[in-house]
Point group: C2
C-alpha cells in the first residue's frame, strides 16, 4: 500500500522494536538513510537497530555498524531504506523477504514489496525522503543525524552535480549545514580523496586509454594482474568506468576489465548521442541507455576487437 | 563607504549607463556575476554593458562577450564584481582605477576601492551576493540570469563541495534550479568534462607522480615540452596542482612546472597538518597555509631536490 510521508511517520510512531535494512553493496545513501532513521527513532524513545550488512566498507561502516542488533533482539517492525526490490537484500536479510512493514525509497523501479511503501522517484537521494520523514516524526535534526542525511544526499547526487539534484535536494542540504554538518570536511573525504589503490587504478585507466574515430570512442584496459597489484577494492573501482567518458569529445567510453575467471567485462558509458544498451546488446549484454555492460568468454584482445567493432558500427550509424 | 544589499540596489536603481568590470583571468564567478547583473539591469530598463576582458576563455565567453559596450558608449556608473583590489583589473579597465562607484564582492581581503562597497566575506561565491542584489532590484530571476548565478556559485564552491558552501549557497542554488536552470547539464560541462589537453596534462601528472616518506609527500613534474605538446591553456591547467594532494595519505603535494623562460614553478598544496606557506618561504616563495608557491632559477632536477628537501624538513619537524 502506498503511503505519503505523514503515513510513514505515523506507522513508525506506532511501531516498536524496529529493524532497519540496507541494500547489498551498501552505498552512502542506504547507510546514510539507515543511520539517520535509527538515530532519530532512538531519540524519540524507540528501540531501533540496523541489520548487519556483510558488504559494508570502512567508509560507511561508522554510519551503521554501531547500531547492529544486540543479542536476542526480536524485531517487531521491519523498515527498508533505499532498496528497490527484495533481490537487493543482503544475505543477512534473507529471513525478512515478504515481511517488510515499511519501504522508504526513491527508485522509480521499486516493486512495492512492503506492507506500506513510501516511494518518491522525484527525490535525487532516498536521504531526501528520510529527511522529510524525520521532520514528520518530530525528531530534532542533530548534527549527527544531519551528517547521515548529508552523506546520503551528497553521494547519490554526485555532490549536487548530477541532474537528479532538485531545489528540494539543495533545501535538505541547507538544513543539514544549518544543523552543524561540516560539508567541506565530509566532501573532501568522499570526493576529493583517492585511496592509493584508486589512484593506481586511475593511473592505469589513463595510461591504457586509447582513442578511436577522432576521439569519439575511448577504450581503457584493466588487466587482472594490474588490479590485483593495486589492491583495489569495491569502493576503489566504483565509477572507474565513467572516467573514459569524461574526456571531451568522447561519445562512447569503454572499460574492459579482465575477470578472475579469465572472462572480460565490458563497461560502456555514453553521452546523449549514443545508446550504450543497444551497443552492449549486440555483444550479448544490456543495461541502461547511458550505462551498460557485457561479458566476453574470451581474452582481452578478442573482447576489445568485438566491442570496438560494435562501437564503431553505432558511431557510424548515428553519425 | 560600506553598503548593504539594499544600499547597493538603491545605488543601481539611481544609476544610468552602467559599465560592469570583471577581474583578470576571469573565472565562473566574476563572469557569472557580471552576466547576471547586466541582464537584470537591462530587464528593469537600464542601459548596461560588460567591459571586454582580454583573458576571457571560450568556457565563460557566452556570459559576458555579447554584452560588450557598443561604440561610443560613455559609462556613467562603474560596478566591479568579484574583484578584491584594483591590481586585479584587466588591462582594459586601467582607466577606471579610482573611479569605481560600486564594488560587489565576497573577498575578505577586499581593499574597499569603490565609492560604495558591498563586501560579504561569508558568501562562498560573489554570485550569492549578486543573487540578493537582483532580488532587491525587483528583477525577475529568468532562467538565463539564474544560469549565470548558478555558474558563479557552483564554480566558486567546487560544485557545493568546498567548506565555503553555506546554507545560503544551497538556498541560492535551489532558487536557480526552480528558475529552470539545468544544473546537471551545466555541471557536466564544468566539472565532468575534461578537454583532451587537460586529460593529457592529468595523464602526465599521474605518470610522473612520485611518492616519498611513505606516501606523505607526492611530487609531479610538468616539463615544458609536454605542456606544449598537449596544447593546454589556462582553463586546462586550472587546479592541476591540487591533483597531487588528492591521493589518500598525501600531506604535501608538489607540482613542478617548467616555465618557458627555463625557470621552474613549484606549486605546493597541503592538508591541515602541513604549512605550504612556510615550506615555500624556505625556497623564496610564499602564499597561503594550504596553497603556496615558489619559483626556482634553475633546472627541474635542482628545483626538485630543493623543494623535496624543504618538504622533508617540514614533514619530520611536524611528524
Amino acid at each position: 500500500m502506498t503511503v505519503d510521508v505523514a503515513g510513514a511517520a505515523a506507522a513508525l510512531l506506532a511501531a516498536e522494536d524496529i529493524l532497519i535494512l540496507t541494500h547489498r553493496r551498501p552505498d552512502g545513501d542506504t547507510t546514510g538513510c539507515a543511520g539517520a532513521l535509527c538515530r532519530a527513532l532512538r531519540q524519540i524513545g524507540k528501540t531501533a537497530y540496523i541489520l548487519d550488512n556483510p558488504d559494508i566498507t570502512p567508509r560507511y561502516a561508522p554510519l551503521i555498524v554501531p547500531y547492529a542488533p544486540s543479542e536476542g533482539f526480536v524485531p517487531g517492525f521491519i523498515v527498508s531504506t533505499d532498496i528497490a526490490e527484495e533481490k537487493l537484500f543482503p544475505d543477512t536479510a534473507e529471513a525478512y523477504k515478504g515481511k517488510v512493514d515499511l519501504v522508504i525509497d526513491h527508485h522509480g523501479s521499486n516493486t512495492g514489496f512492503g506492507a506500506q511503501d513510501l516511494v518518491r522517484p522525484d527525490a535525487g537521494a532516498c536521504a531526501e525522503v528520510l529527511y522529510d520523514v524525520i521532520v514528520a516524526l518530530g525528531a530534532k535534526l542533530t548534527t549527527e543525524i544531519a551528517m547521515c542525511i548529508y552523506i546520503g544526499v551528497s553521494t547519490d547526487t554526485g555532490c549536487f552535480k548530477f541532474s537528479n539534484t532538485t531545489a528540494h535536494t539543495h533545501a535538505v542540504a541547507a538544513a543539514c549545514l544549518t544543523a552543524g554538518v561540516d560539508g567541506g570536511e565530509i566532501n573532501r573525504a568522499l570526493f576529493e580523496t583517492k585511496s592509493r589503490p584508486r589512484f593506481e587504478m586511475e593511473r592505469i585507466v589513463f595510461d591504457t586509454m586509447e582513442f578511436y574515430e577522432d576521439g569519439a570512442i575511448a577504450l581503457a584496459l584493466l588487466w587482472r594482474a594490474d588490479i590485483d597489484r593495486t589492491g583495489a577494492d569495491m569502493d576503489d573501482l566504483d565509477s572507474i568506468a565513467s572516467l573514459t567518458r569524461q574526456v571531451e569529445g568522447v561519445q562512447i567510453g569503454i572499460t574492459l576489465t579482465e575477470n578472475r575467471a579469465g572472462t572480460v567485462k565490458a563497461s560502456v558509458r555514453t553521452t546523449k548521442e549514443m545508446d550504450a544498451a543497444a551497443l552492449c546488446k549486440k555483444c550479448g549484454g544490456g543495461g541502461h541507455i547511458r550505462a551498460a555492460g557485457a561479458t566476453f568468454d574470451c581474452g582481452m584482445e578478442q573482447a576489445k576487437a568485438a566491442i570496438l567493432r560494435a562501437a564503431r558500427e553505432q558511431f557510424h550509424a548515428v553519425g
